[in-house]
C-alpha cells in the first residue's frame, strides 16, 4: 500500500530507462500482452464476425450485438448472474469475517499456520470434483437430509436450486476470502485497537469503527475476488443450480453449442468483461479513496 503512495508522489523526478529493471518487468508485460490483452482484443473483434455453415468469417457487422441485445433471455441471464454474484459476495464476506477475525486476533501463531494450511488444502483437488462431492451431501437422500430426518425434518431440496449454486460459489471462494481477510486484519496496528479499548470503546464498536475501516482495502479486495470468481463461474450454477435459470457463463456454452455461434458468445463474454472491469475499478476506487484523502 505504501508503495502505491510513493509511486503517486508527484515530487519524484521522472526515472531514466533502467535496463536492469526493464529486464525484470518485461516478462510480466509480455505475458499480459500475449495472454490477456491479445485474446481480449481478438474476442472483441470476434464479436463482429459471422458464422456461415459452421465456419467463422472475418467480417465487421453488428448482427451479433443486435441479436443478443434483442433477446430477453440475455437480459434476464445478465440480471440473474449479477444478482447471484452480489449475493455470493455478501454471504461469503459476512461468513468469512468472524473466522478471519478469530485467526487474526484470537489464535496462536501455530494455530494460524495450521488454519492457513487447511484453507489452502481444498485447492489441491479439482473444483469440479469438489462440486460433484456436494451431490452426496445435498441430495434429498444425502447426508444433510439423513441427519435432519433423525429429528423429523425434511427432506429439503437443496440441489438444483439457488441455494445449491451459492454453496458451490462458497466452495470456490470462501477459503480464498478468509485468507485475504485474515492477512488484511493481521496487518492492523494493534496499538490502535488497544487505544480504542482504553478510550472506552466497546468491543463491537471497535470492530465497526476501528478494525473494519483500517482493514477496508483488504476486505474490499477479498469481496472483489469473490465477485469476480462467482460472476464467471460455470460449474456451480450448472451442476448445483441445475442451470435454472442459466447464468451468463452457461449462456456462452449454450450459444457455442448451437450452430457454433462463437461470435455471439463473444458478445456475452465482452459484456461480462466490461461489467467486471467496471466493478473492479469501482471497488478499487472505493478501497483506496479514504486512505488517499488522509
Amino acid at each position: 500500500m505504501a508503495q502505491v503512495g510513493h509511486i503517486d508522489d508527484g515530487s519524484l523526478s521522472p526515472r531514466r530507462l533502467d535496463p536492469y529493471a526493464l529486464t525484470w518487468r518485461l516478462p510480466i508485460i509480455a505475458w499480459q500482452v500475449l495472454f490477456f490483452v491479445g485474446p481480449l482484443l481478438f474476442m472483441v473483434a470476434m464479436s463482429f464476425f459471422l458464422v456461415k455453415n459452421y465456419v467463422m468469417q472475418e467480417t465487421f457487422v453488428f448482427d451479433n450485438w443486435a441479436k443478443m441485445f434483442s433477446r430477453n433471455y440475455f437480459r434476464d441471464s445478465y440480471v440473474y448472474t449479477l444478482f447471484l454474484a452480489t449475493l455470493s459476495t455478501f454471504v461469503v464476506s459476512v461468513l468469512a469475517f468472524p473466522a478471519s477475525f478469530a485467526l487474526a486476533f484470537k489464535v496462536s501463531d501455530s494455530t494460524w499456520r495450521w488454519a492457513l494450511f487447511l484453507l489452502i488444502i481444498p485447492f489441491f483437488t479439482s473444483y469440479l470434483v469438489r462440486i460433484f462431492s456436494w451431490y452426496v451431501i445435498l441430495a434429498e437422500s444425502g447426508v444433510i437430509n439423513a441427519m435432519l430426518s433423525i429429528i423429523g425434518l425434511g427432506p429439503y431440496t437443496m440441489l438444483n436450486t439457488m441455494f445449491g449454486t451459492i454453496v458451490g460459489y462458497m466452495t470456490l471462494t470462501l477459503p480464498l476470502v478468509v485468507v485475504l481477510q485474515t492477512f488484511s486484519l493481521a496487518n492492523i496496528d494493534r496499538n490502535l485497537v488497544q487505544a480504542a479499548h482504553n478510550l472506552g470503546c466497546s468491543p463491537w464498536r471497535t470492530v465497526y469503527t476501528v478494525i473494519v475501516p483500517l482493514a477496508k482495502t483488504g476486505l474490499i479486495v477479498a469481496a472483489l475476488f469473490c465477485f469476480i470468481l462467482s460472476f464467471g463461474d460455470f460449474v456451480s450454477p450448472y451442476y448445483l443450480g441445475g442451470s435454472k435459470p442459466p447464468t451468463l457463463p452457461i449462456l456462452i456454452i449454450d450459444t457455442t453449442k448451437s450452430g457454433q455461434q462463437w461470435p455471439r458468445a463473444a458478445v456475452v463474454a465482452v459484456v461480462m468483461m466490461a461489467t467486471l472491469i467496471t466493478i473492479a475499478f469501482a471497488a478499487i476506487t472505493l478501497a483506496y479513496r479514504k486512505r488517499t484523502s488522509r
Binding site: 459452421y54 433471455y73 440473474y80 441430495a139 434429498e140 438444483n160 441445475g242 453449442k257 448451437s258
Partner: protein
C-alpha cells in the same frame, strides 16, 4: 546395500555391453511395432472409441484409435469444418446430420456391397433417410436407441408413463429434468401435441402450440442437465422423471440396479440413430472400412449393444441373435427379443417411433432461441 548402489552407479564393462546389446537387438522390433501401428482418428460421441468397443479390433489389426469426442451434431460439424481435410478418418454421426456432412463434402462415398444390407432388422435401415444420395451410400447405420418417458418407478407408475402427460403430474413438481438439448425435448412436446410423424415438420401455428405446451411444463422442471448431470440426478433420486432421454441413460442405471426405466408412450417416441462415415481425404479408408465391417458383424453389434457409456440396439439380425446368445440378460432388458413389449423393431413397425430430425419449417436457431427463453422462463 553399498555394493548394490555401486553396481547401479558404476556398472561393469560387461553390464554396459549387455544393456547396449539388448537395446540394439530389441530396437528393430520396437520400431517395427511402432511403424506398423496405424492410428485412426475417430470423431464420435463419448464411448465409441473406448477399449470395450474398439479394444479387440485394435489388438487384432495393430491399429490404435485416437477418438475426439463431441456432444451434439452442431459441435461435430464445427469440429470438421475447422479442421483440415483428412483430419478424421472415421466419423460417427447422428443420422439426421449425415445429410449435412455429405452436402458439405466431408465424407467419402461408400460401397454398399461391403456391408450387410441384406441382414437388416428393418427395411428402413437399408435406405435410411439422408444416408444415400443419388443411389450412392455415404453412411452406414450402426445402431439406434429410443427416447420416450424416462422415470423413477417409485414415483411414476408404468401406466402413468404411457403418456408424456405424466411430466405434468402435480407430485413431480420440481422433479422433472430436461436433457439440455432442444431437439429431443421439443420433439417430445411436439409428439404430445399430436403432431405424430410430422413432429419436426410443423407450421408456425403448430410451432406456437409446441412452445405453449413446453412453457406450461416449466414449473415442473427441476433442472437442465448434461450427460453426467442427467445420470446423477436420476441416480440419486433428485429427478423423478426426465424429458429428452431414453434407455441410453436409464439402461446404464438399470444395469446398476437403479429403479428407473424408459418406455415409449402412446403419443410415440423418437429414435436416435448413429452411423459411421469415412472422412473425406482419409488415407486409411481401407482400415476404416474393415472396422465398420467389424462393427456390423455379429461380434461388433454385440460390442455396440453392450457399450459401457450408453447402450444402443442392434440393427442386424445376426447381431441381435448373437446378443441373445451371449448376453441374454441385456437382450431382455433392452427388449431385443422377439415378442417383447419394448422390442425396438416392433415399436417401429407399429408406427410408434419417429426418426429424430432437424426442424423442417423453422431453423435450428429458432428452436435453440426458444430453448434459451424456456430455460430462463
Amino acid at each position: 546395500m553399498t555394493s548394490g548402489k555401486k553396481s547401479i552407479l558404476k556398472p561393469t564393462r560387461r553390464e554396459v555391453l549387455k544393456i547396449t546389446g539388448a537395446a540394439a537387438l530389441s530396437a528393430p522390433f520396437v520400431s517395427r511395432a511402432w511403424a506398423q501401428t496405424t492410428e485412426i482418428n475417430m470423431l464420435a460421441w463419448y464411448g465409441h472409441g473406448e477399449p470395450d468397443v474398439v479394444g479387440e479390433f485394435e489388438a487384432a489389426n495393430n491399429v490404435k484409435f485416437k477418438p475426439k469426442y463431441y456432444a451434439g451434431g452442431d459441435n461435430m460439424l464445427a469440429l470438421i469444418a475447422q479442421s483440415p481435410p483428412g483430419t478424421y478418418d472415421l466419423i460417427l454421426s447422428d443420422g439426421e446430420f449425415v445429410q449435412q456432412l455429405n452436402a458439405a463434402g466431408y465424407i467419402e462415398e461408400m460401397n454398399a456391397a461391403d456391408y450387410p444390407f441384406d441382414d437388416m432388422l428393418h427395411p428402413d435401415f437399408q435406405k435410411f433417410p439422408g444416408h444415400w444420395k443419388d443411389d450412392k451410400l455415404y453412411s452406414m447405420i450402426l445402431r439406434g436407441g429410443h427416447l420416450g418417458v424416462s422415470y423413477n418407478k417409485n414415483s411414476v407408475t408404468a401406466e402413468e408413463a404411457t403418456s408424456y402427460e405424466c411430466f405434468w403430474k402435480p407430485e413431480l413438481k420440481g422433479k422433472v429434468g430436461h436433457f439440455d438439448w432442444h431437439l429431443p425435448s421439443l420433439g417430445m412436446m411436439s409428439l404430445y401435441n399430436g403432431n405424430g410423424a410430422k413432429l419436426f415438420d410443423i407450421d408456425e401455428a403448430a410451432w406456437g402450440k409446441v412452445k405453449e405446451t413446453t412453457l406450461s411444463l416449466r414449473p415442473q422442471v427441476g433442472g437442465f442437465f448434461d450427460y453426467g448431470g442427467t445420470f446423477n440426478s436420476l441416480k440419486n433420486g433428485e429427478m423423478q422423471a426426465m424429458c429428452g432421454i431414453g434407455d441410453w441413460i436409464t439402461g446404464v442405471l438399470e444395469r446398476d440396479g437403479a429403479p428407473v426405466a424408459s418406455v415409449i408412450p402412446k403419443e410415440g417416441g423418437i429414435q436416435f440413430t448413429e452411423s459411421y462415415s469415412i472422412g473425406k481425404g482419409s488415407d486409411k479408408a481401407d482400415m476404416v472400412k474393415k472396422f465398420i465391417q467389424y462393427m456390423m458383424s455379429p461380434d461388433g453389434q454385440v460390442k455396440s449393444a453392450q457399450m459401457k457409456a450408453y447402450p444402443g440396439f442392434c440393427v442386424t439380425k445376426a447381431g441381435r441373435a448373437k446378443l441373445q446368445e451371449v448376453d441374454k440378460k441385456e437382450a431382455e432388458r433392452s427388449g431385443q427379443v422377439e415378442g417383447h413389449p419394448n422390442d425396438p423393431i416392433a415399436l417401429i413397425n407399429e408406427g410408434r417411433i419417429h426418426y429424430r430430425d432437424i426442424p423442417k419449417q423453422q431453423s435450428l436457431e429458432d428452436w435453440n432461441d426458444f430453448w434459451s427463453e424456456y430455460k430462463n422462463a
